[in-house]
Symmetry: C2
Subunit: 328 residues, 2 copies
């Protein structure tokens, strides 16, 4: 492992993974500002990704950290129906950061950014006690394609794109066993370490909303359905049937409790609580339902929006649960 | 002091200082992305502002921290010739953060953002060992008005907008004496705690560049002329006469050394080394010199660009000095 000895050595690593020249950049990195060519409007989202809060270096490789720091932001673009246009990075490194760590971080980011042709528009470097990343992403959008929350009516379809509950199992087994958990729970660990933003879902649904002048809502499931559905639906309620849990969620549940009925129930509850799946959940008016489900080939119908402010799932009546950094 | 008990209580403070509705926001905060109305291009800059790296809570008030975290970013817009359009914030709070701290932070930001009509486009909250802020600013710009570095030729005028050396004295006396230094060095402390971004200079010079199809370069002086001039000029050199040091820089120098000639020299060297002044330094072709100096009424002519790659200031030949977080 070789130590970082200057900011210039970090900038050289960045330039290797993210060339400053890019068709979208009127002016590339290295000046006071980067200048990004824009259209009518830009979707913007910022997420922190912080060591020992959002990830642990004991079981995230540097490449995983770089991937996920960017992926959780790109997931917000997906939820808005935006087309990825660029991102900026605030990176605080521990003083003992190695060249290998920094190179891995940017390699992981480039692995996700490359196929999206997503330029790095610049950022800032500093030192800190732990590894902290702050990513801001930009996406092309128009008012007509912009998907938002709280745009549902009773009777609308509720749909899901992506898995729920898998990343939560990944977190639990990685916390308990470290990376050796990957041998038994490969997909759950991958779901936690390398979430795949559902960009195609968002872009297709945004285009549909604009073409059909349709009522669609969408958000990404970052904190679990239990906490995120109230954010999507506001004062409305829902009648839901969750999809069958992933086999790795079932086998994890079976490892936790001996009774098989209890295990099935635990697996289902795990899907409800979820967290960090970066699936998308949305609603659409009934006339669009068939088209929406065609646009999300691996999607699932979850149920219908109701007007009574209650969330019902598989016979349960839900209380809102989730995660708050500042709750005591 | 009352403790923060939930993210919602922080969001309520933010909403009080930064309403989510704003003419520039197609979609305000509270969704997966904010949507910002844009023109042809957007200037983007990100800066970290981190406790015990960039500021100390022992002598920065919460309002000072909020102001400066945003000001150092807005200064990058000034250097690009951009018109401020919005900003996003990644905020990591220590677990013992009080309501007063959070309220003060956003009050300080709003003090700067309000007169600029700068909306907060969103961001993210987390916990950390120390107070960390990561600001990304957006500014309206066009390729024609965009000011950049490395756009000078030998013979061009070198000019300065703002003070140099004053913030460095502020840092030294605040580090040595804490806030009681403000009694003796009020302007130096203010220069360090509350830098004023030179937005008007940048916007005027950007417009001039576009109108006259002129050769202008500009950057903000964040690390001192000694380190920043080579970034502005690239392989070129400069013959410079620094402006007379500010009276507080002179009295600080006199407090450091007894010999008066040595003190004068120290005060001048302090201007050269500078750091965190957030002045702007630039160059322009000779035909624009008179107009440029009219556009910056409190500006100073520093000298001329040369072709020999050497920086000469007041009889000295400079070595490049400055600050590197990662140098050992």
């Amino acid at each position: 492992m070789s130590a970082i000895t200057s900011e210039d050595s970090i900038l050289a690593i960045i330039d290797r993974h993210f060339p400053s020249e890019h068709p979208r950049l009127v002016l590339g990195r290295g000046d006071d500002c980067c200048v990004l060519a824009t259209g009518e409007a830009l979707a913007v989202s910022t997420d922190l990704f912080m060591e020992d809060v959002h990830f642990r270096r004991s079981y995230f490789t540097p490449e995983d950290i770089g991937w996920k720091a960017l992926a959780v932001n790109v997931s917000d673009l997906a939820a808005a129906g935006a087309h990825p246009a660029g991102f900026s990075l605030g990176l605080a490194l521990p003083r003992d950061a190695s060249t290998e760590l920094v190179d891995g971080l940017f390699a992981g980011m480039a692995e996700l950014a490359g196929p999206l042709s997503l330029p790095l528009t610049g950022g800032d470097l500093s030192v800190a006690d732990r590894l902290h990343l702050c990513v801001t992403v930009f996406g092309d959008i128009t008012p007509a394609t912009s998907l938002r929350r709280r745009n549902a009516s009773p009777g609308d379809l509720i749909f899901l794109g992506g898995r729920i509950g898998l990343a939560r199992v990944g977190l639990k087994v990685l916390e308990a066993q470290g990376r050796q958990a990957m041998a038994v729970y490969p997909e759950a660990c991958a779901a936690h370490l390398r979430p795949e933003p559902r960009l195609r879902d968002g872009m297709r649904l945004g285009a549909l909303q604009a073409q059909q002048d349709g009522r669609i809502s969408l958000m990404d499931v970052s904190d679990g359905l239990a906490r995120d559905l109230p954010r999507l639906l506001g004062p409305l309620g829902a009648d839901l049937t969750l999809p069958a849990p992933h086999p790795e969620c079932l086998s994890w549940a079976a490892s936790q409790v001996t009774d098989s009925r209890e295990a099935a129930e635990l697996a289902l509850k795990n899907c409800w609580l979820g967290g960090e799946d970066y699936a998308v959940v949305g609603t659409c008016e009934p006339r669009l339902a068939a088209t929406v489900m065609t646009l999300i080939p691996d999607g699932a119908v979850l149920g219908r929006v109701t007007d009574d402010g209650v969330l019902r799932w598989n016979g349960h009546t839900a209380s809102v649960e989730g995660f708050d950094h500042f709750a005591s």
